[in-house]
């Protein structure tokens, strides 16, 4: 039995490139992912889906090479593996099939990626309202196509999904976009830098052209989202655009306000985080190599700030090179030389972010909802409940949580942390990063009890 050099958590773009890079230089790597297959959300099931779904596009298909590269000596992959705790040391506690394992390695790389930003508005918990990215996951994993759906919100992903739906013959009913001409104008000052990422910009323009050519109705600058259930089970979606209230009935309302870092695992591991004002999200604090303030733990990819797949691939390689250096497998010079191309790629990929962040910023009413809008889906806590706790003296996320139970359900705040933060900020507070604790995913008492006599494994 040999000691593991590196455990990578998350087999998305960052985790996959890091694994391949580390293994190429002789490191022994264990790659853990909660899903059934490697790929991450962006390349969900890409290794399985063949040409039957050409509408998913070339960028998606490009993920196949990353998955294929994992078939290399030195890489062990465990899928269906839910990591629920990471300790300094470092050691990783993960569960599969009802059994938890404690595995130690010299380094741990957290590549937990992103999740869609929760988009609270009246009616967002109704059957028939889903995140747009969730519908895209269904397209990738099951070939299910949204029926007569309305896409509502903003961000590059909405255009991509609309284009994929058009190509698949499942045209969206309408696009209801929250970005306003004023937001685009404000974002324009970031365009010169974004030109470094010209291919990405052109891709985006191509998607919009496709939507236009398909004759899909577009509403711009929409606000005041609300959803109600109709008699036949459809969603009656209301919004305001150009000074008028509009209503569209649809079986499926797909919302999107960008993606945010998945930070439960890094927060629970004790890694320092920071607030990214432009992206309106918490992110793990790292140095340019992905190093965190916790010894032995790196973070790469969207978990350290949203950059997208290309940035994540570069960040995964950079973290792997630094870890290889720390393992004594690369000299400092070799690390730095090899890293130069990845640094340039990372810079190019990140160049477009300031423009995207400004142009497609989430609506203030989504960041800080009011009234009866559910904030915490698990515990069914409303914005009014959060406001009441503030009136009774709560000053920060912890007091709001203990006073209202927001964030105490099984999702542990993944669907409400940012909304609570938004409401606190809206009320003049400067909220701290909410604390996360293990187990970051629910684990059965029997499974936990079995760990009283656990043996650490090193496959």
């Amino acid at each position: 039995m040999h000691e593991l050099d590196l455990i990578i958590i998350g087999a998305g773009p960052a985790g996959m490139t890091a694994a391949a890079t580390a293994a190429k230089h002789g490191a022994r790597v264990l790659l853990l992912d909660e899903q059934r297959r490697s790929g991450g959300q962006i390349y969900r099931d890409v290794g399985e889906t063949d040409s039957a779904r050409p509408y998913l596009g070339k960028d998606y298909a490009a993920g196949r090479a990353l998955v294929a590269a994992l078939n290399a000596p030195g890489i062990d992959i465990e899928v269906d593996a839910t990591v629920w705790r990471v300790d300094a040391g470092p050691r990783v506690i993960w569960s599969r099939g009802g059994k938890s394992h404690v595995t130690r390695a010299r380094h741990v790389l957290l590549a937990s990626g992103a999740q869609e930003r929760p988009t609270p508005f009246p009616g967002w918990t109704l059957p028939g309202v889903m995140p747009a990215g969730a519908a895209q996951i269904l397209m990738k994993t099951s070939g299910l196509l949204p029926r007569d759906a309305v896409l509502a919100g903003s961000g590059p992903l909405i255009y991509l999904i609309a284009a994929q739906m058009i190509d698949a013959g499942a045209r969206p009913r309408a696009l209801v976009e929250t970005q306003s001409p004023r937001m685009l104008l404000r974002a324009a000052r970031h365009l010169p830098r974004a030109l470094l990422a010209t291919p990405t910009l052109l891709k985006g323009l191509g998607l919009i052209a496709k939507i236009r050519a398909a004759g899909i109705t577009r509403h711009i600058g929409a606000t005041g989202f609300s959803a109600e259930k109709t008699e036949n089970g459809d969603i009656l979606f209301s919004f305001t655009a150009k000074g008028h209230r509009h209503q569209i009935a649809t079986p499926l309302l797909l919302t999107h306000q960008g993606v945010v870092p998945s930070t439960h695992i890094s927060r629970a591991a004790g890694v320092a985080h920071e607030w990214n004002e432009a992206q309106q999200a918490f992110q793990a604090k790292t140095d340019p190599w992905g190093r965190t303030d916790v010894h032995g733990i790196h973070v790469a990819g969207d978990g350290a700030g949203i950059g997208g797949a290309d940035a994540a691939k570069a960040a995964g390689r950079l973290a792997a090179l630094d870890i290889l250096h720390r393992l004594g497998r690369l000299t400092e010079d070799a690390r730095n030389q090899t890293a130069a191309a990845d640094r340039a790629a990372h810079r190019r990929a990140m160049a477009i972010r300031p423009f995207l962040d400004a142009a497609y910023a989430p609506l203030p009413e989504i960041l800080a909802p009011e009234g009866d809008t559910i904030v915490c889906r698990c515990e069914e806590i409303t914005a009014a409940d959060i406001h009441a706790s503030l009136k009774e003296g709560a000053k920060g996320p912890r007091q709001v949580k203990t006073a209202t139970r927001a964030g105490m359900g099984p999702c542990q705040g993944r669907m409400c942390d940012l909304t609570v933060r938004g409401i606190l900020a809206n009320c003049g507070a400067t909220p701290a990063t909410p604390r996360a604790r293990s187990p970051i995913k629910p684990v059965k008492l029997g499974e936990l009890a079995a760990l009283t006599s656990h043996k650490e494994t090193s496959p």
Partner: protein, 106 residues
């Protein structure tokens, strides 16, 4: 009233399996997750919350826990993280799970 699926059935040919939902037979595509199979089957709620509010699978990536469903007598399974299997017995949950699993009160 039965609410039609909010999704179009994929045109691709696929192997199917049989499962039951609250005792009713349901045909599902082999390889799908439970959450996907339920969304393909019906547009109706796949569970009721503690306060009785209807929910269906939401994030499809294991984050939100809205897709909780009883699978083969095991309550509170994340439907989006479990694959369907021929003969699987699914039950919609109404409110919190029971200690011993088993069928929910209607």
């Amino acid at each position: 009233m039965k609410i039609a699926s909010r999704f179009l059935t994929p045109p691709e040919p696929a192997a199917t399996i049989q499962l039951t939902l609250d005792g009713e037979p349901v045909t599902a595509r082999a390889g799908d997750t439970v959450a996907a199979a339920l969304l393909a089957h019906s547009g109706d709620a796949s569970r009721l919350t503690a306060r009785g509010a209807p929910r269906t699978a939401f994030c499809m990536m294991g984050v939100c826990f809205d897709c909780l469903v009883e699978v083969d007598g095991r309550p509170n399974c994340q439907g989006c993280m479990v694959q369907v299997r021929d003969g699987m017995v699914l039950r919609r949950q109404r409110g919190p799970r029971k200690l011993m699993g088993g069928a929910q009160d209607a």
